[in-house]
Symmetry: C2
Subunit: 387 residues, 2 copies
């Protein structure tokens, strides 16, 4: 029986993780879970999986939840400290890090510091503090298993291969719902259009990031730290069908790709069962039925956030934290309809350009850059004014 903690149990990854865990009740047990706030969905999850501990980052929500599930034998913790405590539960063997955004950084780091194997669906910890996280993980020989479909693909392909034999990795990108959008039309994109991802059902933040290709920008930075690769060995390829999840080219020109129908339960099952695989009752990939797979080079002009991400990847320091925070601010503003779609790239570019990069050796360095970028980004949003 593997004891699991889920950080961010009510999001898309959390829900898919629970789906897999519930199929194998003799193999996995949810020891603890966390969420942002209390609602019917969370209560239903708790009544179903019966965790020992739950933490809500919002103290008021925690108090409300305590009342709602008073009849159950479940400990309810609250606030950032409560979330961290769940991330470090002594009996936990695997922590699924699935909190959306920068909020996942500190609990993930706590899990690593307490020696847990961490399965990472949350990109931001690696983007913001990749060097710190890998340093702490290596100290304790803690494995970090990627859940993101692209990084899971690379991870699966590298199984049994030597790191020195990698020539480059190629992260595929669907290109999102606005792949063919002209520059002129960018300002007119509605929230609904930007959220309509062609292949994957995901949360709103990552859906918008897919439409701007910032998601791929964050992924190239994540890949640098996950796979210990220089920027020159990390490429992006547009592949609208999202069937090839990513690939590795080796020094002998052999290319190995991981493929499958877009279903997050596959990479989630992979980390839950790692290093083994488990049969899943999902449909097989039928390439003959699909007919064709297509590929094109990314258009850096139409998707300038990918250009910014490569610049930030190369320069490093506090820039990745700033990139991430500025993007979170911009995406929130767009989702709240305070700025237009095309303004997201302006907010990010202006915030990154205004930043004087600093060393990112401690979590305090990283958090300071994050805070600075949120203030700066908010100011840029205000300057732009309403859409």
């Amino acid at each position: 029986m593997k004891h699991i903690v889920i950080l961010g149990a009510t999001g898309s990854i959390g829900t898919n993780t629970l789906d897999i865990i519930n199929r194998f009740p003799d193999r996995f047990q949810v020891l603890g879970l966390t969420a942002k706030s209390s609602d019917d969905k969370l209560e239903k999850i708790i009544r179903c999986v019966k965790p020992a501990v739950v933490a809500l980052s919002d103290p008021k929500a925690a108090a409300a939840l305590k009342r709602r599930i008073a009849s159950l034998n479940v400990e309810v913790l609250s606030g950032e400290e409560g979330v961290k405590q769940v991330a470090c539960l002594p009996e936990a063997e695997l922590v699924i890090s699935a909190i959306v955004g920068a909020a996942g950084l500190l609990p993930t780091l706590s899990a690593i510091k307490s020696g847990k194997t961490v399965a990472l669906a949350n990109k931001e910890p690696m983007v913001m503090a990749g060097e710190i996280i890998q340093r702490e993980a290596k100290k304790r020989a803690v494995p970090i298993l990627p859940i993101d479909s692209e990084h899971s693909a690379i991870f699966q392909v590298l199984n049994g291969e030597r790191h020195g034999d990698i020539k480059r990795i190629v992260l595929t990108a669907s290109g999102g719902p606005l792949l063919k959008l002209s520059k002129a039309m960018k300002q007119k994109v509605t929230k609904k259009e930007a959220l309509a991802h062609p292949n994957w059902k995901m949360g709103p933040k990552i859906s918008i990031d897919s439409a701007t290709l910032m998601n791929k920008g964050l992924e190239i930075i994540e890949a640098k730290w996950l796979f210990d690769l220089p920027p020159g060995k990390i490429d992006v390829l547009i592949h609208p069908q999202s069937i090839i999840h990513s690939m590795v080219e080796f020094i002998d020109r052999s290319v190995i790709a991981q493929m499958g129908l877009p279903d997050m339960r596959v990479p989630i099952s992979y980390v839950l069962n790692y290093p083994e695989r488990t049969a899943l009752p999902l449909p097989s990939l039928d390439l003959a039925a699909l007919g064709t797979l297509s590929f094109e080079a990314p258009d850096f002009e139409r998707f300038p956030l990918l250009t910014v991400a490569y610049e930030v990847l190369k320069e490093g320091l506090t820039l990745p934290s700033v990139l991430n925070a500025a993007n979170e601010v911009a995406v929130s503003a767009f989702l709240e309809e305070r700025i237009c779609f095309g303004d997201i790239e302006r907010v990010v570019r202006q915030t990154v350009d205004a930043h004087l990069p600093q060393k990112a050796e401690t979590i305090e360095d990283v958090m300071a850059a994050d805070a600075w970028a949120r203030t700066e980004g908010a100011q840029v949003v205000q300057q732009i004014g309403s859409c």
Copy 2:
């Protein structure tokens, strides 16, 4: 320094193997090589790589070669016994089995029995005597490394994976130059049309086998023995561009594929350097430049030899030997313009149907079935008469 023996040094695989070996003179040394007959090409190879021993299966050719290279310090052996001796040279570590057709069986088996690691480009040994070969290899813990691009793909993908996690393997097939040919036009196909493979430059026998899909038929039987899989776990998929060389679907629906530009030097380099990889100065696969990859299910009606091969794969016994020998007879007859293209499948089908399957437990069983099929096949060819 790895000491290499090449069985079949003047064919397409032999030539590509020498190309790789010559690029890494500090890593590989050709200890011995064999060929069918002596010619200028062979003499040039011998003068370049300076092997210790050479064997020609044709004794007259061996005598002629002896005179031609009298000034060199190269031992020249002759006949089947000479070829076997080279396959078992005590100092050899790796034997490249690249003789075309059934003639490769006995020398390959000799190499395995003398404990050499064998890299197999020659399909026929596994098709005819897979059970015997694997029994002998397992007795001595001799690794058998596939060179065929499809089997190399599967082998590379399975690196680091558990055999029990395989759901199925999918061998890709370009479909050859006659993929879209109607049944009615089959009898009118010229030798030139049948030999014109769209992606790979290969010898005439394998090029014709690609045009009839018999090559894929032999490969599914080879795969059964190489990867210890039942017929139900071996699928074929038409993929005209020959970029995905083959793939494995795992029980969790993850599919891993090996890809690359069609160049046999990649799988050859893989077996020479196994378990490492070596940088090759070849172009990278550029999927964006290719644009699309396409796939379709094989048409068993238009390519009936694939149907015959699956029947033979399921029933086993001496049938694979009969299938292979009948096909060799039919392809020879077509290349000599004694029968039409469409007659190849008739010769194979009629010979297989006329065979009473026997146990294939010894090499004698296998060779008897092979001999029977050659006589029977030749009779069918004669019955058909001239094209």
